[in-house]
């Protein structure tokens, strides 16, 4: 049975506003575009959605990816695009999560398009071949004009904070005439979140250009690019290289051009025809066709087409030369279209395409290049040492090394964390790293000048930034006290990657509130405008002013005076942040005010009433004391790192708690009224704080291969979990194992259950190939051993 299909390329517009001479759609063997409609009709789009949906339902696919393509898909226009996206979402959405992408030449990108991308959560990839000289070689208008400046303007728009999350990456077709170093620098300057490099499409009938005397010039070009990438810290994921490295480790490839994974992609053309991958158009006229269309044929029927089926057979269906090659598992025979060698005795029917005939039973026309590239890259990987300091391109040019220190986790801290609680020093390292990140994020929020619409809010943010910069020099400890607050980090992330419908100006103006809070802690005089959000003017870690609605406007002036207990503003009331300051806590806020606290999945409660606050204070103190008595090691770590507890809205008879990655030091808990709170709360605090620690550890060290798509059945949840979810669960239940063990005979049965869960899942992770990295194995081994032990 054929593997199910989860990726679809939907041709929404058949024409293009550029006339690139290397385009396979118009300039290569296939000319079928001439007879197809320019624009996909609503009826075809709806039918395509129906076919995708029924296939996802039949094969229980949780996610499908639809890439809108052309020609140039933005030629469809915004109104038609909205209708198309609505049809896809309403057709597929009820069955599977739909991951929408679009591949554009970038010429037409404007704010309206980007707003539409944000609204529909659609990510855009842009084609660019390097710097202006490189790009102008092929990517030109029909009259020969350069397209470079317009594409770069589009990319500049995508890099803006409010649109950055819609920026999927850059696609570059390489040309030996271009200098790989210059191309790398030009592409890196566009800060793409992903990058891929394509070999120019070619076949044995039309082989690629090769300078005389050069055996594998494309490998040489790509290796120069590889070294640029490596020396630059590999800060941009490059699909061709990451696919090679992943396939070499036995993992999946992320591109059909490499690896032996079954083909997982179909194309739907503007006329509703099912087609094979577009690259086939380089082979011969009609090569991509299947003779099927969305009205008459299901996805399963298309998958049974011999040309699709043959591409799901792995190594076994490759040529004898390929099967005997030592790197076949990495290259997978190369792109299917590049294997084409015409046979004069083969008769083809142009409306049904290739049927996997002997014409494709050859190595790739790029065989020597692929082999040389793979061997060179893998040799480089084996010889590579981890960089220990960060370097900039300028440093490399001058031969100097950057001396800015980097956060590292000492080996003893790592080992301490694997045992469950971690010691105070380990938690301090994790907190330090998050503080460094928070400082950087806040600085970048302040530096993002573009896109303001409300000049009053912009002025408030600018005023706040001026104050915060001055305070960071004169009162660094007080500034860091505010920046270390979990929801300052969450706020900065939200500003830099805003969710759809965010009020970006209002969010960014919170910088003034951050500055005001630091000024308050520093005990200096200050007067500044702060944004009004709902009814409140927020000073994170300090409290909030209930604004005076009669004053109008989106900002309110507040004044801070040394020695005063609260900031003052005309005609307003004050709400203090609520702290537990005594032992065992260092300083813990019960966060029921911060406007960015609601990021843990479950809804946060509103401001607690005075009796509710007293109950939280009493019960949290008792819960913490219980941890001090039973598992003092965990209690010490908790006291060192826990800064905020967010009350969640209570749900009758349901225990709920959560932790967000962007809020280090915070846990969110729903309180169960009328129950023994110290027991409930101590368990939930312990459970969630394990997630808090592991979140940072996972950012410092790669514990598992990210390309591993395996999901594991776990005993604590019904749904299969990704590797990181399994690690989080084990780590949380390791702590609960220790707590139950310390509680003695009354908790013995639960102790045995939790311990068995840790044993079972650590064993499963360790036994499954290509899941854990070597450091991940150390971590999981450490947890397995720790489950047997008592902790102090």
């Amino acid at each position: 049975m054929a593997a199910p299909i989860s990726q679809y390329v939907l041709k929404v517009h058949g024409w293009c506003n550029l006339a690139c001479d290397h385009c396979y759609v118009y300039e290569h063997a296939d000319q079928s575009w001439r007879a197809k409609p320019r624009i996909i009709s609503p009826k075809i789009a709806a039918m395509a959605a129906k076919r995708i949906s029924e296939h996802a339902a039949a094969h229980r696919l949780k996610d499908v990816c639809v890439v809108l393509h052309g020609g140039e898909p933005l030629l469809l226009g915004k109104t038609r695009m909205r209708a198309l996206l609505d049809a896809l979402i309403s057709g597929v959405g009820p069955v599977a999560d739909i991951d929408l992408r679009i591949q554009s030449n970038g010429i037409l990108l404007d704010e309206e398009w980007c707003d539409l991308f944000r609204e529909y959560r659609l990510r855009v990839g842009v084609s660019l071949d390097g710097d202006k000289t490189a790009n102008d070689l092929h990517r030109k208008f029909v009259d020969g004009r350069s397209s470079y400046s317009q594409v770069v303007a589009g990319l500049t728009l995508l890099r803006r904070p409010e649109y950055r999350h819609t920026y999927a990456g850059i696609l570059c077709t390489i040309d030996l005439a271009n200098d790989p170093v210059t191309v790398y620098q030009a592409l890196a300057a566009q800060e793409p979140p992903n990058l891929d490099l394509l070999l120019p499409h070619a076949t044995w009938e039309h082989p690629p250009y090769r300078p005389i005397g050069q055996e594998h010039p494309y490998a040489d070009w790509l290796m120069q690019f590889y070294w640029c990438w490596d020396r630059d810290g590999r800060r941009i994921p490059i699909r061709i290289f990451n696919s090679m490295l992943s396939a070499a480790r036995g993992g999946v490839s992320f591109t059909e051009a490499l690896g032996t994974d079954p083909a997982d992609l179909l194309v739907i053309d503007t006329n509703g025809d099912w087609e094979q991958a577009d690259s086939m158009k380089t082979a011969f006229d009609g090569a991509a066709a299947t003779g099927m269309n969305v009205f008459d044929n299901s996805v399963d029927e298309v998958c049974a087409h011999p040309a699709i089926a043959v591409r799901q057979g792995g190594v076994e269906v490759l040529s004898a030369i390929c099967r005997a090659c030592p790197v076949v598992n990495v290259c997978g025979g190369g792109l299917y279209a590049h294997r084409f060698r015409p046979d004069p005795h083969t008769r083809r029917r142009s409306n049904t395409g290739s049927i996997g005939s002997a014409e494709f039973n050859h190595p790739s026309v790029y065989c020597t290049d692929l082999k040389a590239l793979i061997i060179a890259a893998l040799a480089a990987e084996r010889g590579r040492t981890m960089p220990i300091t960060a370097r900039t391109p300028a440093d490399r040019t001058s031969g100097k090394r950057e001396t800015r220190p980097i956060h590292t986790l000492p080996a003893e801290s790592f080992e301490s964390l694997t045992t469950g609680p971690g010691d105070v020093a380990s938690v301090d390292v994790l907190a330090s790293m998050r503080l460094s990140e928070a400082r950087s994020l806040v600085a970048m929020v302040a530096a993002s000048e573009a896109g303001w619409r409300d000049m009053n809010l912009r002025a408030a943010a600018a005023e706040g930034w001026t104050l915060l910069r001055a305070l960071s020099r004169d009162h660094p400890r007080e500034v860091d006290e505010v920046l270390a607050h979990p929801y300052v980090y969450a706020w900065a992330v939200r500003c830099l990657r805003p969710p759809p419908h965010a009020d970006i100006d209002l969010d960014r103006a919170h910088l003034a509130g951050v500055a005001a809070a630091a000024a308050f802690h520093a005990g200096i005089s200050a007067e500044l405008s702060l944004p009004i959000r709902g009814r409140y003017v927020h000073l994170p870690t300090v409290g909030a002013i209930v604004s005076d609605p009669s004053q109008g406007g989106r900002t309110q002036i507040i004044r801070i005076m040394p020695g005063q207990q609260r900031p003052v503003a005309r005609g307003s009331r004050w709400r203090s942040a609520r702290y537990l300051c005594g032992p065992p806590f260092r300083r813990l806020v019960v966060e029921d005010l911060d406007p960015f606290r609601d990021c843990q999945g479950w809804p946060a409660s509103g401001r607690l009433s005075s009796p509710e606050w007293r109950r939280w204070r009493r019960d949290l103190t008792a819960a913490e004391q219980r941890l001090v008595d039973k598992v003092p090691g965990y209690a010490r770590a908790l006291a060192a790192g826990l800064r905020a507890v967010v009350p969640l809205r209570s749900v009758t008879d349901t225990r709920r708690s959560a932790t967000a990655r962007q809020a280090f030091g915070a846990v969110a808990i729903a309180r169960l009224d009328g129950r023994a709170q110290d027991s409930e709360l101590s368990e939930l605090l312990l459970h969630e704080f394990q997630h808090v620690k592991l979140n940072v550890l996972l950012d410092m060290h790669v514990l598992f291969h990210p390309e591993c798509g395996i999901r594991f059945h776990v005993p604590w949840r019904a749904d299969p979990r990704p590797v990181e979810g399994v690690l989080h669960g084990i780590y949380a239940f390791l702590a609960l194992t220790h707590l139950r063990r310390a509680e003695g005979p009354a908790a013995h049965a639960t102790y045995l259950v939790y311990r068995s869960w840790v044993f079972r899942m650590t064993d499963e992770l360790l036994r499954t190939r290509n899941v854990l990295t070597s450091i991940g194995e150390r971590f999981v081994n450490g947890m397995a051993v720790a489950a047997e032990s008592e902790v102090t």
Binding site: R164, N194, S440, G601, V702
Partner: protein, 61 residues
């Protein structure tokens, strides 16, 4: 396929590259190219599909 969007891989070394910015004046961070790159990595990493954004727990009692 002309699509650069599928399959994001975190390189193992990226985890080793968290600059220690404590004590550095904030205005210096705002213009530092390395810091900008680190922030981009943090944000990209935050959206990395293989990572868990929110760890949540629920059970009926």
């Amino acid at each position: 396929v002309d699509d650069v969007t599928s399959g994001v891989s975190r390189d193992e070394t990226t985890a080793e590259r968290s600059l220690d910015t404590r004590g550095v004046p904030l205005e210096e961070l705002a213009t530092d190219a390395d810091v900008r790159r680190m922030v981009t990595r943090i944000l990209d990493n935050m959206e990395e599909p293989s990572r868990v954004r929110v760890a949540s727990f629920q059970s009926n009692v």
